[in-house]
Symmetry: C2
Subunit: 585 residues, 2 copies
C-alpha cells in the first residue's frame, strides 16, 4: 500500500487510514502510519459490545448521503473584484471544497450531519490564502463589498467555529493551508517565525532538522494549525515541559478587519500595559485572520523516554496526581486513564502469540497476587519524560517517591509509549464507530481538585439518566482520563458513546445528550472547556457563566476593530445562541 | 532600639531602617530587620567614591523642603454625600497623607521631587477602603458627582502610576491598606482568596502558618500589594518555580467604574473565549479598583537552599544562562550580577577580623591562581533552590553540569544567601545616596538573548555620553544584573547613579538621563519594561513602539466600562504624554 498524504474529505485524518472490520470480527487500522496499523485486533469488537451492552451488527451500516452543496450566493461586485486580482485557481465554488470547509470534527453536529443528514449551511466560496498580501487584499475586498469571512486552518475544530453563521451576506472561507512556511528561525534566541497555516507536524519536522522543538502537541497536531491553536487557546500533551500556546507565543501577526497587517507583542514577558496580543487567544475567528506568529522553541531533549504507573483505584491515582502537581519537575506528559479506558487499550492489542499470552498471564498473576490489584478497578498513568539525563532521572525518582505513598508502582515504559502513540490512532475510531451506529464524542473541562471525582460521577450518572429518558439501547459508554495538572485543578477529558441503531434523529439526540453532560460539568463547577473552546456549540453554556462585563468588553473590542462584522463567523459571545434567556436544560 | 512597623512617610521602607554614616566614614544600616543591620561597613564609601570617580563630602547634605500640600479641591456634593455615609476617620484631607499618596518610589520624579523640589500635583483626599462595599459606594459617589479616583496599594510604584493626573476634578486616592485580609484558604485546591491590599509579606506570613506559599516575591514584596502586582503585571525573584503574577491568578474581583463588583476568571486554565481577566494585568488603575484575587499556592518546599557560581567574565556567564534557560528544572531564583555589582556586594561586608581577612586573602589567591579568575572581570550568579530533596539535587546537578561547560564553578551557599538577602536592604541605599547628592534609579527590561550584551554596552556608552554632554562630575555608575530567564530572552535590571553636587535642577537632569537610557534600550530592541510597568513616566516610550491597534483596543475597552473616566489616573496609553508626536530625544 502506498502512503498518500491526502486528508480524508470529511472524516478524521488521512484518507489511507481507517479502521475496518474483517469477517472474523477482528478489527484492523489500514495504512502504515501508526504503530497499531496492520495488525488484527480480536478484542476490539467484544470490548465495545461489552462496554455498550449491545450486540453490534457488523453488516448493517447507516446510509451516507453527502449532499451536493446548494448554489452559492455570489456577491457580484466582490466576485468581479476578486477575479480582476486573482487567478481562478486561487478560489473555488466547488461543492466538495465548500462542504469540507463548512464543518469541523464535532461528531453529531458536524461529521454525522455532513455524512448522513446534511449541513445546515454551506460557505459560498473557498479562498486559498498564500501570502499576507493575499490576506490583506481579500479582507479589503470583503470590507468594500460587504462579504463575511471565516478563517480556516486544519479543519479540526470541534466547537462549530467553522460552521457558517446565519448571515445573508456571501460567506467566504479563508483557507490558510498554503500559509505553511517557516519565515525565519533564530537559534540564538530560540525563536521561530511560522505562518499560521502550518500544521504541528510540519512545524515539528522542520524544527527537528535544526535540533529544536516547539513541544506543542495537541492530540490533533498532525492536522491542526498554529493559527488555530492561537484562536482556540489550545494546549498540548507536553504542556508541563513546553507550556500551552499562551506560554510560547512571543508575537502574533493578524490582518485586522480593515485589511491592515498588525503585529502584536514582541517579548517572552513584559509589563507594558494591557496586552492586546492576549485577546487573540480564544478569539475564534472573530477578530481577524492570524497570519503568522513567533514562537519560543527549545532544543530537542537529550532523552525522551516513557513510563507507566499502576494504581489500585482512581481515588489513589487522583491523590497521586494532586501531590505530584505541587512539584516543579513534572514529566513532560502524564495522563491517568480510568479503568474502562485502560481496558479499551488492552482491547486494541493485536492477537497475541503463545509467548505473549504467557507473559500477559504472568503479569496478571503479578498484579493480582503480589500487588493485590483488582483489574476491574486499577487505573494507569502513562508518562512521557523529556530533558537532560539529570532532569529525566529526577522526574522518574519523584514519580517513584510520590507514587509509593499512594500504592502506585511502575509498570514499564512500553505501556507508557503505547498509550502515548495510541493517542493519534484513537481519533480514527470515532469514524469507524459511526459506521456501526455508535455516535461518540469527547468532552473536556478543567475541574477543581476538591470536586474532581464528584463531578466525574455526576457526568456518569447524567449519561445513565439520559439513556433511560431517551430509551436508548444498551448502556452509555463514559470513560475519562486526566490529562493536565495545575496547582488548583486538572483537565479531565471524557469519551462518550451511545449506540443509536433504531433511534430516530440520532444526530440530534447525540447533540442534546452531549449538551446535557456539559451542563452537568459547568453547573457543578467545571470549566466550559480546557482547550477546545466555545465556538457555536458551547456559546449558550458560556453565557450561563460569563460575567456581563466580560461579554461587554469583548463586544466593545469587536465593534472597535470590526464595525462592519467582516469577520462574522459568530463564535463565542457573538454566536446566535449566546445570551438567549432560554433555560439551558 | 525598638522595632516599629511604621513605614517611612516618603522614602523607601520602614522608618526605623536607614543607612547612616559615622565619623570614621563607615556606614551602617540601622534597625534589626536585615542581615546586614548593625555592622559598620568600612568599604561602602570608598567603593562609591571609586565607582563614581568623586570624593564625597559627607557633611554637606541637600536641604529637604517637604512642602505643605496645597488646599484640596473639594467637590461639595461629593463631600456631603461622603460624610453622610462614612465616619470622618475613613478619609483624610491631611497634608502628609495627601502628599504621601501622591507619589510612588521613582527617584528623580517622585522621591527627589517630594523631598526637595515639590510635587507637581497632590491628591485632594485619601479614602481608606476597608470593604468591597466601601469600594462600591465610593465609586458610585464618584460617578454621581464627577470625581476622579486613583487606586493606591503599597505606594511602591516606580512609573508614576500614583502621580495625580492633570485633571480639573477633585482627585481621590483610594487606599487599600485595610483591605488586607485572607478571605478564605482552601488547601484541597491549593487556593487562597486574598484582599487586594494585602502585602506580600502579610500574605506569605499567613500562608506559611498553613504550610503554603504563593512564592511571588518581587524585591518590593514587604510593601507592595496583591492589587498592585496585578495592575502592574508584576514578577518576582522566584518566578522559575512559582511563576509571575499572571501564572498564579485563578480569578480577580474588581469594582468597575459603574460601582459594581465583578469577578473575572475561575480556573487555572480554560479555553472559554477571550479572557477579559487578562486585561487587568497592566491596567495600572485605569479600569477599576481590584478588591481581591484567588491565587494558586504551593506547599512550602521541603528544602530551601542557596548556591552561587563564579564565571571568569560576563560573556561566559551569559552563555551559561542561555544554556540553562533551555532546561525545565531551573532553580527558583538565579541572578547573575556584573563585576561592579559583585564588588559593591563585597563593599557592603562588615569590617573583617584578622581571621576573616586571612580567609578572604586565601579565597583571592584561590580565585586568581588556581582558577585563573580576574577579580575585575569575574561575575557571580546567586542562586536560590527550592523543592523536594530530589528536585533540589537535580537543580544543583544541572547547574554544575552546565556551568562546567562555561568555566563556572560553585562558590558556596553563603554567598548565594547573602546576595538574596541583600536584595531587600539595597532598596534603602537609594535614599542614603540621595542625601549624598547621588541620584540613583533602576531600569529594567526584557532583552533578546542575541542582543543582550550589545544593548547593555549601548546603555553604558549612552550613560557616558550623557555625562559628557551635561558636564556632570566624575563618572556615571551603571551596573546590571540578569534576573529572569526565558527561552528567547532575559530580564536585565540596571542600577544607574549620578553624582549631582553643584548641578542645577538635579531632579530634571536625572529624569532626562534615565529617559535617554530607556530610549536606548527600546530603540535597540529591548522591552519598555519587564515588570515595573508604564504609568506616566514611560508612556511616551510605549507610544514609540505600541501598535496602533493595541492602543485603540485598550481605549475601546476603557470607554465601554468607564465613559465618565472615573478611574482617571491616566496611565499607559491614557497618559497625557502618550501618542504625542514629539520626538523622543
Amino acid at each position: 500500500m502506498t502512503i498518500s498524504t491526502e486528508k480524508a474529505l470529511h472524516c478524521w485524518g488521512y484518507s489511507d487510514t481507517q479502521f475496518i472490520v474483517h469477517d472474523d470480527r477482528t478489527v484492523e487500522l489500514t495504512g502504515k502510519r501508526y504503530e497499531i496499523c496492520g495488525s488484527r485486533m480480536p478484542g476490539f469488537i467484544p470490548f465495545v459490545e461489552s462496554a455498550l451492552g449491545v450486540r453490534l451488527d457488523l453488516t448493517d451500516r447507516p446510509t451516507t448521503s453527502v449532499r451536493v452543496a446548494p448554489e452559492p450566493r455570489r456577491n457580484a461586485a466582490f466576485c468581479d473584484a476578486l477575479s480582476a486580482e486573482f487567478s481562478p485557481d486561487r478560489y473555488s465554488f466547488d461543492s466538495d471544497q465548500r462542504l469540507s470547509h463548512s464543518h469541523g470534527q464535532a461528531t453529531a453536529d458536524e461529521i454525522y450531519a455532513v455524512l448522513y443528514e446534511g449541513l445546515p449551511r454551506v460557505v459560498d466560496m473557498v479562498f486559498y490564502c498564500s501570502s499576507e498580501r493575499d490576506a490583506e487584499r481579500i479582507v479589503a475586498l470583503a470590507l468594500a463589498h460587504d462579504v463575511c469571512l471565516i478563517p480556516y486552518g486544519g479543519g479540526t475544530n470541534v466547537t462549530g467555529c467553522l460552521q457558517p453563521p446565519e448571515d445573508t451576506r456571501m460567506v467566504v472561507s479563508m483557507d490558510t493551508g498554503q500559509l505553511n512556511r517557516i519565515e525565519w528561525f533564530n537559534p540564538a534566541n530560540r525563536q521561530v517565525c511560522a505562518q499560521a497555516g502550518i500544521t504541528g507536524r510540519e512545524l515539528e519536522e522542520q524544527l527537528r532538522r535544526h535540533g529544536f522543538t516547539a513541544g506543542h502537541e495537541p492530540d490533533s497536531y498532525e492536522f491542526s494549525t498554529l493559527g488555530g491553536w492561537i484562536s482556540t487557546n489550545a494546549s498540548g500533551m507536553k504542556r508541563n515541559r513546553y507550556g500551552a500556546i499562551e506560554n510560547i507565543l512571543d508575537s502574533v501577526s493578524v490582518v485586522t478587519p480593515n485589511g491592515k497587517l498588525e503585529t502584536l507583542g514582541n517579548f517572552p514577558r513584559q509589563s507594558a500595559g494591557v496586552q492586546i496580543k492576549d485577546m487573540l487567544f480564544g478569539s475564534e475567528g472573530n477578530f481577524g485572520l492570524i497570519t503568522k506568529a513567533v514562537l519560543r522553541v527549545r532544543r530537542l531533549p537529550e532523552i525522551k523516554t516513557f513510563q507507566s504507573l499502576v494504581f489500585p483505584d482512581v481515588q489513589r491515582g487522583v491523590a497521586f496526581l494532586f501531590e505530584l502537581s505541587n512539584s516543579s519537575s513534572l514529566p513532560a506528559s502524564i495522563r491517568l486513564v480510568d479503568n474502562l479506558q485502560f481496558r479499551f487499550g488492552l482491547a486494541l492489542k493485536p492477537a497475541a502469540g503463545r509467548r505473549a499470552q504467557v507473559k500477559s498471564l504472568l503479569q496478571k498473576v503479578l498484579l493480582q497476587r503480589i500487588k493485590r490489584i483488582n483489574p476491574s478497578k486499577m487505573v494507569v498513568a502513562t508518562i512521557g519524560m523529556e530533558g537532560s539525563a539529570i532532569e529525566v532521572r529526577a522526574q522518574e525518582a519523584a514519580l517513584a517517591e510520590i507514587a509509593a505513598r499512594h500504592q502506585g508502582f511502575f509498570a514499564g515504559g512500553s505501556n507508557g509509549k503505547r498509550g502515548y502513540n495510541l493517542t493519534f490512532a484513537i481519533a480514527y475510531i470515532r469514524d469507524f464507530m459511526t459506521k456501526l451506529h455508535v455516535l461518540g464524542e469527547t468532552l473536556e473541562t478543567t475541574l477543581p481538585w476538591d470536586k474532581l471525582l464528584q463531578i466525574v460521577e455526576r457526568v456518569i450518572e447524567e449519561a445513565r439518566t439520559i439513556h433511560r429518558e431517551y430509551g436508548l439501547p444498551g448502556k452509555p459508554f463514559v470513560s475519562y482520563r486526566i490529562t493536565q495538572l495545575y496547582a488548583s485543578g486538572a483537565c479531565v477529558y471524557f469519551t462518550y458513546g451511545i449506540y443509536m441503531k433504531g433511534i430516530k434523529n440520532p444526530g440530534a439526540v447525540a447533540s442534546k445528550a452531549e449538551d446535557r453532560l456539559r451542563q452537568t460539568i459547568v453547573r457543578n463547577g467545571g470549566a466550559v472547556s480546557n482547550h477546545h473552546g466555545v465556538g457555536k456549540f458551547r456559546s449558550q453554556l458560556l453565557a450561563s457563566v460569563l460575567p456581563a462585563m466580560n461579554a461587554g468588553m469583548i463586544r466593545a473590542l469587536k465593534s472597535t476593530i470590526d464595525p462592519k462584522n467582516v469577520f462574522g463567523a459568530q463564535n463565542g459571545v457573538f454566536a446566535a445562541q449566546f445570551g438567549h434567556d432560554r433555560e439551558l436544560s
